[in-house]
């Protein structure tokens, strides 16, 4: 038996080797996110970079003339653009003073610029250039003209940190605008999901999602996004409802913090009931 297997192996050794190396390659592909792999790659890239750096004068020599011409062209274009940008800045300052969203809204809003953002982690956040000096406190909602951005979680005198929708800690009570179906919005690390949507409920792709009336933190009817897909989950009473946010976090530069304090009577009552039910 063993001899037969061995003869078979010898007969097809090339294919066995190919299969083994292909499987090994797929295993390596699955290990891409391991820190050890990243460390080894960093080391190898740095080593290659050191060698390349020593030889970098060769392509540089051949590229100089073309680079020179390209740079002169860019210089002229940039000078022209700088002049136009100065004009645009002045116009922008005038328009900001007339900003429609803040003037029309009944909600007390504080404008802030996004000075830093994390968009590639499991807990993503923004750093805003407004803080307690501007009346901002933790748990205040953050909005943009397109919809809900997130919630303030920490403040200093002049800065705040806000968790955005793309954060595994983020939760918001939301409702489908058309059918008034309620759910809880959360991020699972890859996509925004509207949870607790039973299969019998009327939810369709293309429906608009807004904040619901049940939240203490967010005022109702703030746009959150659009339902992009509704999928039946096998073996579950619920559906997987995926939401595409209205806000483009990659391009987000200015936001508003809603500085209204939640209804303290409602908060107290709900807190007392929770304590009563969970002594």
């Amino acid at each position: 038996m063993l001899e037969r297997l061995y003869n078979l192996f010898l007969q097809f050794r090339e294919y066995v080797l190919l299969a083994g190396l292909v499987v090994l390659s797929f295993i390596l592909l699955s290990l891409n996110d391991r820190p050890q792999v990243k460390q080894i790659r960093t080391f190898a890239t740095v080593a290659m970079g050191v060698v390349q750096n020593q030889l970098s004068f060769i392509p540089r020599y051949f590229q100089l003339k073309g680079e020179n011409e390209a740079l002169r062209r860019v210089n002229v274009e940039l000078a022209d653009e700088a002049s136009r940008l100065r004009e645009a800045k002045l116009e922008n300052m005038r328009l900001r003073s007339l900003l429609g969203l803040k003037a029309d809204s009944d909600m007390p809003l504080v404008a802030a610029n996004v000075v830093s953002k994390n968009l590639t982690l499991l807990r993503n956040s923004l750093t805003l250039d407004a803080g307690t000096a501007d009346g901002i406190q933790p748990s205040m909602p953050v909005l943009s003209e397109l919809g809900l951005v997130g919630v303030v979680i920490a403040t200093s005198e002049n800065y705040s940190i806000a968790n955005i929708l793309w954060n595994t800690d983020f939760r918001a009570s939301a409702k489908v605008q058309r059918s008034r179906v309620d759910g809880i919005l959360a991020w699972d690390g890859q996509k925004l999901i509207l949870k607790n949507i039973a299969k019998t409920l009327d939810v369709k792709a293309g429906d608009v999602l807004v904040t619901s009336d049940y939240s203490n933190t967010y005022p109702p009817d703030i746009r959150i996004g659009i339902i992009s897909s509704v999928r039946e989950e096998a073996g579950s009473l619920f559906r997987e409802v995926v939401v595409t946010p209205s806000v483009d976090f990659v391009r987000l530069e200015q936001v508003f913090v809603l500085t209204a304090v939640p209804d303290s009577e409602r908060v107290d009552l709900e807190t007392r009931v929770i304590q009563m039910l969970n002594p």
Binding site: E14, F26, Q52, L55, I58
Partner: protein, 161 residues
């Protein structure tokens, strides 16, 4: 042993060329694959098993110094080395290397390399994976075949002398 040591030096040199200088030859984002040409050469010189192993190791080396998916070049160069091994014939090695047959073998192996490479590479991208795979595969294959004419001419001159 000396032969392996020489091969390692050649591969390291080609890797340096591929990462530092070949991007300067880029046409519309496409570059030739010098390491693939070497894998085909190794297959025609030494056979299928050596070429398959060489393809895996060369691809792994390429993955280490690139920012693409780790293991992807190893996978595709393993397949390329295996395919190139089918054309191994110890009696006709020089004839294969120094004639248009070398370009055909490089072309076939380049297709065998690029199809799985770009199919996996473009997964999850906004572009249509099938269309992008086809475009990049054909363009990169054509460019690699064109560059492989240089070693082919070198071998053919050596054959003539």
């Amino acid at each position: 042993m000396e032969r392996h040591f020489r091969s390692i030096l050649i591969v390291l040199g080609l890797l340096l060329l591929q990462t530092a200088f070949v991007p300067l030859l880029s046409l519309g984002g496409m570059v030739p694959d010098l390491l693939l040409i070497w894998v085909v050469y190794a297959a025609l010189r030494r056979g299928q098993i050596e070429a398959t192993i060489a393809g895996f190791l060369v691809g792994l080396l390429q993955d280490l110094v690139s920012i693409q998916l780790f293991g992807l070049a190893a996978l595709s160069k393993t397949i390329a080395g295996f395919l190139a091994g089918y054309f191994y014939n110890e009696n006709k090695t020089d004839q294969t290397l120094g004639t248009y047959r070398f370009l055909l073998v490089v072309g076939l192996c380049s297709l065998g390399h690029n199809i799985p490479y770009f199919m996996i590479f473009f997964q999850g991208s906004d572009a249509s994976p099938a269309l992008a795979t086809m475009q990049y595969t054909l363009a990169t294959t054509a460019y690699t075949i064109a560059i492989s004419a240089l070693p082919m001419f070198a071998f053919s001159r050596r054959l003539a002398t």
